[in-house]
Symmetry: C2
Subunit: 461 residues, 2 copies
């Protein structure tokens, strides 16, 4: 299904010559994502509207070429990569915030808006959009919806799907649909909105979204808690929730993550600590102050070595800079990284910590874990040189063992990164045959000719 | 597709003779719901397990009879009625709370558990399950999930779909599937969980559910606010949200609802008031006290005649008894009721109030409105004698006008009651042709022979 010259000509008629390119140096820019994998597209196209996208998809159905939607290309599982060729459809021109409605606590936004810009815009109006993946400085809302992004605040506020009320989307057939409502309630027909959210760009291309907002919390307080042992940190997380306290974030970094991030940023992280928690609470000023006191004493009681409050915004920003820098910083240890995104019921984090320590010991590989301890979402990273066959084998065996243990503990193999191409060979470990068959049939309903984002999510037959 | 004697025999083999009946007096008990409509089933069956249900559905596919799942039969749109005959499958034997897990804030529950019983059970453990439809004293969790029930607390806490993490369900084909996860995060494959939630028992029969819980708020405070004019009450609701306060409920009753409920319960409601709000806040003791003070002065400032705090639990219970009694109490006005369930963006409630006043004037019919003002969800009731053709015509015209105006204001024609049979002829007003086609195709994927809950949701062809 290579792109014919005549198709290319028609694509250029749809979006204008300057918005469709086949120049090698441009193709390269849209050939990779955060997995480090590269697949060159046949062309890259920059539509301006849902009508453009509709025309492109109609053409793709007629002339049978693949279309791969792309936000910022910050995905962790290859969702935006043209693995079977085709045209990459970049959403960056649909980048307007159409409406922020204070009275009804909603916003209407185009998919190309950068998540961090949207945060700033709503916060200026004293409003709050909780989902905040670590990539929020550059990832786009369209990509966030396609993957159902999570982030640190999910422990209190839930994930992306909990903030999507309605959508406009272009189906693979080129039909433009509207789903959902503008209100919290709405039960007319099947929930197509949440079927599109998290479908990894395989069921339709989102072109307009109505998002739910909250009032901006009056105050946020942040503490870091240092532990000698990872196990004690993990047990503290469970105890916090057991006490009925739901901080807005409970992030953790293990020793490998701390050391590596410190050597990259040099902001004085405790490199000898077994683990560090970053706990953040929000609410009214007096409430957060009280909660922080309760948390401090609870953490000390559970064996913390030190609890430190971020006293200024700059200190707080440094902490989050550190937290967000872990993933890239890890490349210090080795040229390659296998980055997994498991979730276990939070009371089972201590079990998983023990398991990973054992695997580290056994394999001799550097393994760093960090993530969203509050909701049991652990980013498990194995550092290696993929050219070293022995390391690669050991790493893959370790990942498989972690996945199997995750499922044994009642967890899931992907909390927020999706399946894409990197996990599709594992999906059958979690999803049964009948369930997978249903999903494939749904894909066929939406995309009878299989032209949208092929080779993703489903395992190769 | 009448039920054959041989099918009946096989059904009795599956569940045991005592759990399958064709006695007329029993059939009658399962022939109606809260719509007041009646359709006699061919048989009523009481399965004990998902295996029973699987066997029943496999038989239904083979011998082609209809199966209609039923919880407590408290639905408002006919979702559990055997409108084309077939067997009614009553879920009451699957009524166990399997697990309440404090550490992970989840519960595993069977669908036949009464919602109110579940509330009591989790509250005993200092946990909280927010969804609370007015019918919670008798409706079941299975029915709540099938309809995606809402209730008063949705303004702060969202609706049923926001609390469902994972499901076991029996497909119309008899296959048993598992969907979703036990954690807040989880993005493996398409969101079948939320596709089943709100599908009104047309895509599968839920047999086991994993629900998300919250810590029980420390304190709840309730005030009633009396207004001379409905318009002022509606504007007050908008102002509360604009101030960044999200009470857990903002309920309202108009004059007709107040008068009628008072004459039924005799608890001292202000029968001359234009409208009454019931506002409830929850949180830590000192927070709720502060918020109530802010709300009181805001309400007085916006023209309230009186603000009264419920000082005791008994007073609070009386208020909620009144609120929950409105729907049945309205039959005082006339033998029949058309009960609609619209939602408008909350800032547009004042417009809708004006519209309904005008319709009341024009038609001469008694119209009572009450509902969840905080999320724009208005229960619009027209009282009439359906045998009076003139009244019926006027009432139907008024409903149509309200639906059209609802959609004009950016709202939806069903917030929490679903479509069922009573609204299926209106669904095309809200849902486009392509969207409806997708939904029908999804139905076919799940239910190729169309044996599960036929005649619902989709308009007659």
């Amino acid at each position: 299904m290579a792109l014919s010259n005549s198709s290319l000509k028609k694509l250029r008629q749809i979006v204008g010559k300057e918005h469709c390119t086949i120049e090698k140096e441009e193709l390269v820019c849209y050939s990779y994502d955060a997995t480090g994998k590269m697949y060159l597209p046949d062309a890259v196209i920059f539509p301006e509207s849902s009508d453009d996208i509709s025309a492109i998809l109609k053409l793709a159905n007629k002339e049978r070429f693949f279309v791969i939607p792309r936000g910022a290309g910050s995905g962790m599982t290859g969702g935006s990569l043209p693995v079977q060729g085709g045209i990459v459809l970049v959403m960056k021109r649909l980048n307007r915030i159409l409406e922020i409605d204070r009275d009804n606590l909603i916003a209407r936004v185009q998919p190309g808006v950068v998540t961090g810009h949207f945060h700033e815009a709503v916060e200026k109006e004293s409003l709050f959009y909780p989902p905040d993946p670590a990539s929020s400085d550059f990832s786009t809302l369209g990509g966030n919806l396609a993957e159902c992004a999570g982030g640190p605040r999910a422990v209190k506020y839930g994930v992306t799907r909990d903030y999507v009320l309605g959508l406009e989307a272009v189906l693979p057939t080129g039909d433009i649909i509207k789903t959902g409502v503008k209100t919290v309630k709405g039960v007319v027909g099947y929930d197509l909105t949440r079927l599109l959210v998290g479908s990894e760009g395989t069921l339709g291309i989102i072109t307009d979204m109505t998002l739910r907002l909250l009032p901006l919390p009056e105050s946020v307080s942040t503490i870091t808690v240092i532990f000698d042992k990872m196990e004690a940190a993990a047990q503290t997380v469970s105890e916090i929730i057991r006490q009925g306290i739901i901080p807005r974030t409970i992030e953790y970094m293990d020793n490998a993550s701390i050391r590596c991030t410190e050597s990259y940023l040099k902001i004085g992280l405790p490199v000898d600590a077994g683990a560090m928690l970053i706990i953040e609470v929000d609410g009214k000023e007096n409430e957060t102050a009280t909660e922080i006191e309760v948390l401090k004493s609870l953490c000390m009681h559970k064996g913390a070595r030190d609890v430190k409050m971020a006293e200024t915004n700059a200190e707080r920003d440094d902490l989050w800079k550190a937290r967000k820098a872990i993933s890239p910083a890890l490349y210090k240890y080795a040229p390659d990284k296998i980055n997994e995104d498991i979730v276990v019921p939070r009371s089972r984090i201590p079990d998983m910590v023990v398991k990973i320590a054992e695997l580290r010991e056994r394999s001799g590989l550097t393994m760093a874990t960090f993530g969203h301890a509050g909701d049991g979402n652990i980013h498990f990273n194995v550092m290696l040189d993929k050219k070293n066959r022995d390391e690669l084998q050991k790493a893959e065996a370790a990942v498989l063992e972690v996945f199997e243990y995750t499922l044994e503990l009642g967890g899931t193999i992907s909390g927020e990164h999706g399946i894409g191409i990197t996990k599709s060979s594992y999906i059958k470990k979690e999803i049964g045959e009948t369930e997978l068959f249903l999903m494939k049939q749904i894909k066929k309903v939406f995309d009878p000719n299989g032209i949208l984002n092929p080779g993703k999510l489903f395992p190769a037959e």
